[in-house]
């Protein structure tokens, strides 16, 4: 039971990290990118490749994964966001990010293979550690670290304040002389680096698996919608709630109904509180 709980919490931490990634991209562009989960997938796959195949030392592989994530974030902005936001059709970004996500997933499947491959140990530790195993606490640690760093970044730095200004009103921010395009590209790089780091840290839990992206996109989104769009605390709480709930459900009912239960959670929260637990009510345009 306790093992089920801590597995749930670790998986939930990964979902929370994906939700944070969503948040960073959403703050500057008002876009919920389908590629969010695929960033972490790339982080995991490249991490495993760097360490196992190329034989890089762990810190270098970590940097490499973060760099790959950041680069993919920049590519997302360049290919799928920039041109599309210039047009006014609100659905187009969904299509362009979906197209990019599909391409990346298929490319990863062709290159890496469609079977999940093991991820190397990051810290020397005995396999008999049980609940104290690094594959559980690494994702949790990283998710909390990311949330704290993000809060500090928003509150204490000039660039963080630019992000907040853009999320409040991009048009006004632009009128005040903020280079909105460059800030948006920067937010995508940061989001990519975060996703890459989360994918690397959770690699031992999820394995290096090409189809992880879509699951993570969906579950990260559920965590985000439950916690409230735009709220970092909400992302953590939503991710943890989702992870623990599906772990308990798996323990009592069996693993077959995991997806059904997590979507059920989403539906209940959306019916009771459409803005999520920590979100602000959005005003309907009339």
């Amino acid at each position: 039971m306790l093992v089920a709980l801590i597995t749930g919490l670790a998986t939930g931490a990964l979902y929370a990290a994906a939700a944070l990634t969503y948040n960073v991209m959403f703050s500057t562009s008002k876009v919920l990118s389908v590629t969010t989960g695929h960033i972490s997938m790339l982080g995991g796959i490249f991490g495993a490749w760097f360490v196992s195949t190329l034989g890089w030392p762990i810190p270098l592989a970590l940097l490499g994964s973060v760099a790959v994530g950041g680069a993919f974030g920049l590519v997302t902005d360049f290919v799928a966001i920039r041109r599309v936001l210039a047009r006014s059709d609100e659905h187009l970004w969904l299509l362009s990010t979906l197209a990019l996500a599909t391409m990346v997933q298929q490319a990863a499947g062709l290159w890496w293979g469609t079977e999940p491959r093991p991820f190397p140990r990051l810290i020397p530790q005995d396999f008999s550690a049980g609940m104290g195993d690094q594959k559980y606490w690494l994702p949790i640690l990283v998710a909390i670290l990311l949330a704290v760093a993000l809060e500090l970044f928003y509150r204490r730095t000039l660039y963080g304040k630019l992000f907040v200004a853009m999320s409040e009103d991009a048009f006004a921010a632009r009128a005040r002389g903020i280079p909105t395009g460059r800030i948006r590209a920067m937010s995508y790089v940061i989001a990519g680096a975060m996703g890459g780091l989360a994918g690397f840290a959770a690699g031992q839990l999820t394995f290096a698996y090409f189809a992880l992206g879509l699951t993570l996109t969906l579950n990260g989104f559920i965590a985000l919608a439950v916690g409230g769009l735009g709220s970092n605390v909400g992302a953590l709480v939503g991710g943890a709630a989702l992870g623990i709930l599906s772990a308990i459900a798996t323990y009592f009912v069996g693993g077959e109904y995991q997806q059904t239960i997590s979507v059920g959670l989403l539906m209940v929260v959306l019916l009771v509180r459409p803005a999520g637990l920590f979100g602000s009510q959005s005003v309907r345009p009339v």
Binding site: A80, H91, L95, S96, A101, Q106, A225, E256, T260
Partner: protein, 334 residues
């Protein structure tokens, strides 16, 4: 003359499709043609949802799976007459579409797309979990159609007729007040509401209709596959339906139809594309979204415009001076 040439093209296409079994050559090509028609039964209905009312459903493969399993279980396990089983598959999927649409169609764009994605994943999870009903991972064998549709030619004609029927139905919807209302919902919800389009009901109605066609398509698809497992209904298939419509062009019927034909036939004809699979679809989708968001059909329209000259451009506004003078005089006299 324009209407004439259109009617001529329509008749030519119908004759070509109806006589396909005689000139297609081998049975495999006929099978691919029947598969395209079965896909089109689903895509035709989905087109009203995605192309006309602008609801981005990427999870219709879930409804396809429900229809296929419903047909296989009723006709195969319980020995119900196939015609009844097809109707039951359609009805069940319409019900599922209703239940899915009722909460999720209220959600904004991305939320709705994620809800349909989740639906597709749930269905594939349940087909694996309910092994007693669906055969689990082993799958189910599907009975064929009864005489006279038990030959490849016969089943092709049956599926073609269903596809034609669906095309006719969607065409009727598209050019009625309903269709215009759906386009209004797609382009601006607020405006549509302001002019009295029942937004939610319109969306839900076409979604239920698309559920029905998806169920029928599932039954036809199952017969063509003759053996179904949960792996038949991977999520990528739902993406494929969606891409066909977007590439063909939203708000048209011919565009998505051509998209379906090309995207199904191309990987069959060109082997390297089949290996790339989704990568190719994604690339195509990205190119269309970035270059011509209106769809490939728009490219042809632009080419035709360049070739023939733009229609309706030479509007010369000429003031009717005499009438103006009379009007001024009349108001002056008052």
């Amino acid at each position: 003359m324009k209407a004439d040439s259109r009617a001529f093209a329509l008749v030519a296409v119908v004759i070509a499709l109806a006589t396909l079994p005689w000139w297609a050559g081998d049975l495999y090509k006929l099978h691919v043609a029947a598969l395209i028609c079965a896909y089109w039964v689903l895509i035709g209905g989905l087109n009203l949802v995605v192309g006309y009312s602008g609801q981005l459903s990427i999870g219709h493969v879930g409804l396809l799976a429900i229809g296929a399993y419903c047909f296989a279980i009723l006709a195969g396990t319980h020995g119900v007459h196939p015609a009844l089983a097809v109707a039951a598959a359609g009805g069940l999927c319409a019900l599922c579409g209703f239940l899915l649409g009722l909460p999720s169609l209220r959600l904004p764009g991305f939320y709705f797309a994620m809800a349909t994605l989740a639906f597709a994943l749930i269905v594939s999870e349940l087909t694996l979990a309910q092994g007693g009903l669906t055969g689990g991972g082993v799958g189910l064998s599907v009975p064929g159609f009864p005489r006279p549709f038990d030959t490849p030619q016969g089943s092709y004609w049956l599926i073609l007729a269903t596809a034609a029927l669906v095309t006719w139905l969607t065409w009727n919807v598209a050019r009625s007040t309903w269709g215009r209302g759906l386009v209004a919902v797609r382009d601006s919800v607020v405006t549509a509401q302001a002019v009295g389009v029942p937004v939610f009901r319109a969306k839900l109605t076409v979604f239920v209709f698309s559920g029905f066609t998806a169920g029928v398509a599932g039954a036809l698809f199952a017969v063509l596959q003759s053996y179904i497992t949960p792996d038949t209904f991977v999520f990528d298939l739902g993406l494929f339906f969606f891409v066909c419509i977007i590439i063909g062009g939203r708000g048209h019927i011919v565009g998505p139809a051509i998209g379906t034909v090309v995207l199904t036939a191309l990987p069959e004809m060109v082997a390297p594309l089949a290996k790339l699979g989704n990568f190719f679809y994604g690339l195509l989708l990205l190119a269309v979204v970035l270059l011509v968001p209106e769809g490939i059909g728009r490219v042809f329209e632009l080419l035709i415009e360049r070739y023939r000259g733009r229609r309706g451009e030479s509007h010369v506004v000429k003031p009717d001076l005499e009438r103006l003078a009379r009007a001024i005089e009349a108001s002056g006299a008052k």
